[in-house]
């Protein structure tokens, strides 16, 4: 049976609600990989996790595995408003990057205390456990997940999810071109092993190529670099992710058309991630 993947948020940097973004959505990064009703695997806790939380509550899900790529606010700020966190019957395991000197738990608690939040983490009724990454491969429910540090300001992870028959790479914030994409072997490309031969790659494509020069080093990729990255590592379908906040629905349609031109006729046409998008991993 195929594993279902659902995008709950794919906007980059900051949530952008409004009539111009209704089509592709304004919530920041959050992706769910279905494990059945008893458990959920979640990638990132941007504002998209808020709606997911209500959905998990409706489904009665009590066991949640959350993997954070990094702690920039657009990947974390939804956690405080994640309904299961406020349910004492829920167990939440959180994986994410520690810094070279501070644990993941200590880093997250900073966002869970005044003046950034009115409550302290000790007020959270759910049972929450923190796990530093990168580390051992995670395996459960027939899914295997591995993490590697990737190029983005501050400690940042990318993930590879394998179902046995297929694989998905999740690299929402990633600027591999800073260390080279096209002029080296895949083992020297940031995120190369995570995305190598993957069936689906959700990859940062925040900028148009003409915007990139002014934003170089900010940690995000151009559409052209996302296409080049997938080609270099032999990945199959590119899903363009982490949309520039100012990009309207109409502008994102142009982004998709541009990515398809760059991909060429021999490659699977890239698609732009859309809030609510559901696809199967074969």
């Amino acid at each position: 049976m195929p594993t279902q993947v659902k995008i709950w948020g794919c906007r980059g940097s900051v949530a952008t609600p409004g009539p111009e973004t209704v089509g592709y959505g304004g919530n920041t990064s959050c992706v769910e990989i279905a494990l059945g009703d008893d458990a959920a695997l979640v990638l990132d806790a941007g504002t998209g996790i808020r709606e997911l939380g209500f959905d998990l509550a409706r489904r009665g899900t009590r066991r949640i595995y959350l993997f954070l790529t990094h702690l920039h606010l657009d990947h974390l700020e939804g956690l405080r408003f994640f309904a299961p966190l406020w349910n004492p019957e829920v167990t939440l395991d959180v994986w994410g990057p520690c810094s070279p000197v501070v644990s993941l738990r200590e880093r997250i608690l900073r966002a869970f205390s005044p003046p950034l939040f009115p409550l302290d983490f000790r007020d959270v009724p759910a049972e929450v456990r923190f796990h530093d990454l990168p580390g051992e491969r995670w395996e459960s429910h027939g899914i295997s997940l591995s993490a590697e540090l990737v190029l983005h300001p501050g400690p940042t992870l990318g993930y590879r999810v394998e179902t046995g028959a297929s694989s998905l790479a999740y690299l929402p914030d990633h600027e591999p071109v800073l260390a080279g994409i096209t002029d080296r072997s895949p083992d020297w490309i940031s995120g190369g092993a995570l995305a190598a031969g993957a069936d689906v790659v959700l990859h940062d494509a925040q900028y148009l190529d003409e915007e990139y020069e002014a934003k170089m080093g900010w940690g995000h990729s151009s559409v052209g670099d996302a296409v080049a990255f997938c080609r270099a590592v032999g990945a199959d379908r590119l899903v363009l992710f982490h949309h520039e906040p100012q990009r309207s629905d109409r502008a994102l349609e142009s982004v998709e058309a541009r990515a398809r031109e760059l991909a060429g006729p021999g490659e699977v046409p890239p698609v732009v991630a859309r809030e609510g998008m559901v696809f199967d991993l074969p």
């Binding site: 070279p100 590697e148 990737v150 800073l178 072997s185 895949p186 190369g192 092993a193």
Partner: protein, 131 residues
């Protein structure tokens, strides 16, 4: 020999850093494999990295006859590269090597270990000064 295993991000960043330096710089991974040296180091070593490729550092060090300024041989374990890898500490040494092209060169060499986290040793960087 190319091992083709994913390089740690710290090594990827070190390679990019070294690629943009005019100071000869060499990078080894945590297993003691020479995984990269920059264009500036190619002049010191006498061979392009593309010709050499990844290889165990001991094979590489053995190809160079290293001598103190007084002429006494310097064993590999006393050279900054091996000190950084084996003892995981920085060291600095001045000595003479005969490169692959047969030329004697006086070098000042600094080696230092790379730790991604306090206990996570991922490799070493070696820099050749004033060559």
């Amino acid at each position: 020999m190319s091992t083709q295993r994913q390089k740690h991000l710290v090594l990827i960043l070190a390679r990019e850093f070294a690629s943009n330096l005019s100071t000869p710089t060499l990078i080894a991974d945590e297993r003691g494999y020479l995984v990269f040296y920059n264009e500036a180091a190619e002049d010191v070593i006498g061979r392009r990295f593309g010709e050499v490729g990844e290889m165990p550092l001991d094979d590489w060090l053995g190809a160079f006859d290293a001598r103190a300024l007084t002429g006494e041989p310097i064993p590999p374990e006393d050279r900054p590269t091996r000190v950084a890898l084996d003892q995981r500490r920085a060291s600095h040494l001045r000595y003479i090597v005969t490169s692959a092209d047969g030329v004697d060169r006086e070098l000042e060499v600094t080696g230092f270990p790379l730790f991604a986290h306090t206990e996570e040793f991922v490799g070493a960087v070696v820099i050749f000064w004033g060559t």
